[in-house]
Symmetry: C2
Subunit: 340 residues, 2 copies
């Protein structure tokens, strides 16, 4: 037990390096490096001396140097549109936690809906020589080109594009839309109102919904659109639109649980009962879906699974193993609760 870690000042003014540790432990820097990265390959006696030296010097490896030398940065970029109210938040929470637990540094980029910002962030990620880029945004030719010539693994999550550059971990938004329509039909709703955000994924869900509704539904479909992301605050305007309709819809299909929550608040405030007078369906199964009153019928996406699959793929890619699949379909499932 050596307690000098807290008392020994660094040898000089600056941070301890591998050299300092090696000198103190009486071994070469190569051996210290091996110990730090893969302790099992050094003899136990040597390891003990190195451990002591690391503690005594307060050595913290310089991953800038390490990454440069090994050309493996152990860093992954995570690019999402917003931090606030994003439908990806649960997935990203799991993603960031698991990456950190695996010793990977997470670079966060907020793309908003700006293509130029997205490109800047991709460029920044490539500048850091990230091992992978986890991406939720829409592809542009610029992004595609930058990413293609880089060795970083490009992972599109929350969707399954036809031709992913790297790999995709997600689900079919078209199928999700169909599932919702099917559910609505099975419950006997006849006047659905569909609220769709402008993004590509939301449009895919809309397409699936409309397709299925036209095939099996009975009654008229009305629609509204909102900016991305589908937020709580959009509900006020949408609800006003609905109230102006000659006949009230019997179910409102929302692009997020936050928007669904807003619709419920608007409905209740104006004296309607949910789901009796008007039913509401959300999307994403965020935590509040199960906590709202009434609880919100929503579509669950297994964010942890997406995170795990993405991380497994990164691990394989880093180990030079071939990627097994270009598409990893994690599916999604509708959870019927009180609101519809």
């Amino acid at each position: 037990m050596n307690t000098s870690a807290t008392t020994d000042p660094p040898p000089n003014g600056k941070a301890a390096t591998l050299d300092d540790v090696a000198a103190r432990a009486g071994v070469s820097t190569a051996t210290v490096s091996r110990f730090v990265n893969n302790p099992s390959v050094v003899a136990e006696g040597t390891a003990a001396r190195i451990r002591e030296a690391i503690a005594a010097t307060g050595y913290i490896p310089n991953l800038l140097a390490g990454g440069l030398a090994s050309s493996r940065s152990k860093m992954v970029a995570v690019l999402i549109p917003y931090l606030i109210d994003s439908i990806f938040n649960d997935t990203m929470q799991a993603m960031v936690e698991e990456l950190s637990a695996a010793g990977t540094t997470v670079m966060l980029g907020l793309t908003g809906v700006s293509e130029s910002r997205t490109e800047d962030l991709i460029r920044a990620a490539l500048s850091r020589r990230v091992d992978a880029i986890i991406f939720t945004g829409p592809m542009t030719p610029q992004v595609e080109q930058m990413v293609q010539r880089s060795p970083a693994l490009f992972i599109q999550v929350w969707e399954l594009p036809d031709n992913p550059i790297g790999i995709a971990v997600g689900f079919s938004h078209r199928d999700a839309g169909r599932d919702i329509a099917q559910f609505i039909v099975s419950r006997g709703y006849r006047r659905p109102h569909l609220v769709t955000a402008e993004g590509a994924r939301a449009q895919m869900r809309r397409a699936g919904f409309v397709e299925q509704w036209q095939a099996t539904g009975k009654g008229a479909l009305s629609e509204s659109s909102v900016e991305v992301p589908s937020r709580f605050g959009h509900a006020r305007r949408i609800f006003a639109e609905i109230r102006r309709m000659p006949e009230l819809p019997d179910v409102v299909v929302c692009g997020s649980d936050q928007l669904a929550q807003g619709m419920i608040v608007e409905a209740i405030t104006s004296g309607l009962r949910v789901p009796d007078d008007i039913a509401v369906i959300g999307f994403g199964n965020s935590t509040i879906a199960g906590e709202m009153r009434p609880t919100i019928t929503s579509v669950e996406v297994d964010g942890s699974r997406i995170a795990r699959e993405a991380i497994a793929a990164i691990r394989r890619h880093s180990a030079q193993e071939p990627l097994r699949d270009r598409w990893i379909d994690v599916g999604c499932r509708l959870i019927a609760r009180e609101s519809a």
Copy 2:
């Protein structure tokens, strides 16, 4: 105008380096480096040739190497407890956006409430030789020690501790608590119910509230406590507690707008009117505060200002300028809306 950027393959299989650019432009690597980091110091003719070479080779600087050589990583760590429902989200959104816009890479760490995880993340940040660490968690001796011997600027945000290690950008939670009590008194409420989360900052607000209430309030104060973070989902239990009380409180003071939102939903669902039967106050002035029905009386914290001050401090620190203040008080202000 040179369009070869999109057509020229990289010279060999790997990414272009400064050497490639320098060779193509017929200058030294030093000059290219200067051009990349400070274009104005190179002659215009030279600059033009370098620009062409960069475009042609698709050169993307390696910031691992750059950071190692300059010992300025242009990276900042942002450590927050959660991505979901966090009261910091608006501040952090602004922070990340402004950092990115300034060309700084953001390393994101999710500390949860775990001290060991916090320490791992601090260590990871120091391993990357970040220029600064933006921190919202509680200090531990371990964290303090690691951070103290590092050249990174340590910035505690959303609070003003007595003795910050680096600097603090925040506000007095005690004063915030006092302000809320004062508001309540001024509105004539007499039976406040205070819901406090376990975290240190929430406890400070509680202390300020209780102090002020005892000095100027009239009537009995009741209390509940919740886990951090103060979430929407906590409302159900708290409301049940309140209903069991012999006399209903006339105002519920919540630790976040999300919790306040939950309280409103619970109240309305059980047939109470807000604020007539029971008033509700939030904290943080998140976007939903102004969007909820009724809109939520809350305490505004200027997240953008916190972000800007933090970034200005980082800039000064990186430029070796002396820090001006150890505490930057951005204050906070109560915004009266419909809910109380």
